[in-house]
């Protein structure tokens, strides 16, 4: 077992994340591993939809830009890159990574983790879908994808085979970080406290800038300096699982026990039992200690045996969403917006035959984000937003068209109309027995 600490850097916290903070980490972070978490529930289903349209696509569109930017520095520093940017097509992503490495003159070994695509398996197993409470076969919608959350084991296996770049599809986010820790510290698959501690570190780092002041900043109560050059975090993780979090000198942001506490509990349902494919992690006794400026010690995480089943994200064709917006300002702005909303609603039903219950009318600037939970205010300006999910693209396009037509047919002073159309991939979840999911690791030569 390694006595030294392993340094993990957070290169991205979501598919659309900034690239320059990762380049900074790759250049001067002295990292062992640089990790890009680029896959949300919705992202993997959307990627599956793209792959159905074009079999060569389906990986993260920003993957090429990220690798081109960081690979030369990572290679120079001996840093291994791990990412779930493979999304719906990790093999194509791996081949792209190998081409980029070859073009840059780097002798990088690229590993691809597959096995998360369980479409055939769920069709055979016909599990109960959480959201409907019924078996998958009872579902009317067209199933287009099923991806199981893999754990850290295949990442650790890829690293043991000498990979310099690891591309995966659907993998539990903290497992991207736990994989390198398992490999370097030799943690066994039943060392629950170590796996729990590594999962906590992964969970803290997986949203990148959210640990260093992003999604935290509030000029009134939570000031964060230098957010335009927000530094992404890294962690030095010891063999016992304790971690010291830090960020590079000269970068913006703040890293302290308040930013850490907020990120620890972000999107956490039960802090005593955070379920992952690797471990049931216990966040409830985690403590943070400020050890220096922008440096925090994390201790106290625990773990219990992992769940026997793996969570699967199911993607269904869910029709189309159409949307239109137009703005009103000045005296009676909200009254005029409401008149406009009523007009659009009436016409969508009467002229286009849209089901009235599918139509959502919102007044941005007058409580739309709070979903009607606050009473009307009298805003300086308000933006009408009408959206609806319908079966086909043509009908969805009518939503925005009707809003746009308010220019000459609606209340006075409407301006700045915009319309938008997108295909919906509806995401639901189910479980599969662990032994019916078989991760695999392929090594490509760059």
């Amino acid at each position: 077992m390694s006595r030294r600490t392993v340094r993990l850097g957070a290169g991205a916290g979501f598919a659309g994340d900034r690239i320059d903070p990762a380049v900074d980490l790759a250049r001067r972070g002295e990292l062992d591993y640089l990790i890009f978490e680029c896959l949300g529930e919705r992202t993997v289903a959307a990627a599956q939809s793209r792959r159905l349209a074009d079999p060569a696509s389906g990986y993260d569109p920003l993957l090429e830009a990220r690798l081109l930017a960081v690979l030369p520095y990572a290679a120079e520093a001996g840093t291994t890159v791990v990412t779930n940017s493979g999304a719906a097509n990790p093999v194509a992503a791996g081949e792209l990574a190998a081409r980029i490495a070859a073009r840059s003159g780097l002798a990088s070994r690229v590993a691809v983790v597959t096995g998360d695509d369980v479409l055939d398996t769920v069709r055979r197993a016909d599990p109960v879908v959480w959201e409907t409470g019924q078996r998958l076969s009872a579902c009317q919608d067209e199933l287009i994808s099923a991806n199981a959350y893999l754990g850290s084991q295949p990442v650790a296996a890829a690293l043991a085979q000498g990979a310099d770049v690891v591309l995966t599809g659907r993998l539990a986010d903290p497992a991207l970080y736990l994989g390198p820790l398992r490999y370097r510290h030799g943690w066994g698959e039943t060392e629950w406290d170590s796996l729990g501690a590594g999962t906590v570190t992964g969970h803290l780092l997986e949203c990148a800038g959210q640990l260093t002041g992003g999604y935290f900043a509030d000029p009134g109560t939570k000031p964060v300096p230098g957010m335009a050059r927000l530094g992404f975090p890294f962690a030095d993780v010891a063999a016992d699982g304790t971690a010291v979090l830090g960020k590079l000198p000269g970068t913006g942001g703040r890293l302290d026990i308040r930013t850490c506490a907020e990120q620890l509990l972000y999107e956490v349902d039960d802090p005593t039992a955070y379920l992952t494919p690797d471990v049931t992690a216990d966040f409830s006794r985690v403590t943070f200690t400020q050890t220096d400026a922008d440096q925090v010690l994390v201790e106290g995480a625990g773990g219990r045996p992992r769940p026997e089943d793996l969570k699967v994200t199911l993607g269904f064709r869910g029709g189309w969403t159409g949307e239109g917006q137009i703005g009103y300002a000045g005296p009676r702005a909200l009254d005029r917006a409401k008149l406009a909303g009523d007009i659009v609603r009436e016409r969508l039903v009467a002229v286009h035959g849209v089901d009235e219950t599918a139509i959502r009318v919102e007044y941005i600037g007058a409580g739309a984000l709070f979903r009607g939970l606050v009473s009307d205010v009298d805003p300086v300006e308000v933006r009408l937003r009408v959206s609806a999910r319908v079966a086909d693209a043509e009908l969805a396009d009518a939503i925005g068209w009707e809003v746009e037509s308010l220019y000459t047919n609606g209340p006075a002073g409407g301006g700045g109309a915009a319309r938008h159309l997108r295909e919906v991939v509806a995401v639901r979840s189910c479980l599969l027995p662990r032994n019916s999911v078989r991760p695999d690791v392929h090594l490509l030569e760059g």
Partner: protein, 101 residues
Amino acid sequence: MILDDIADVRAGDKGDTLMLAVFPRDGAAFDALESRLSPELVACHFGSAVTGGVTRTVLPGLPAFVFRVPGVLGGGVTGSTALDGHGKTLGYYLLTLSIPD
């Protein structure tokens, strides 16, 4: 006094369940909220949008509270046509809650 005077909130989502982590800014705020910020009060603030029992987990070590508010997101990010399907902005709605004396 409203919650915004003594605490921070971070919102997160799991499907159509809203998770709200509340962070008192000091020990006195933690004590006050432990006795006064009940799951019932949070449920009442979100009104009829809540479809099940609101739960509270107390984490004295951080210190923090986690509230689980089911149903509020009405289908969640892929099922809802709402402007903020994640409900990320709803943490600031909780901050408007009046804390009883």
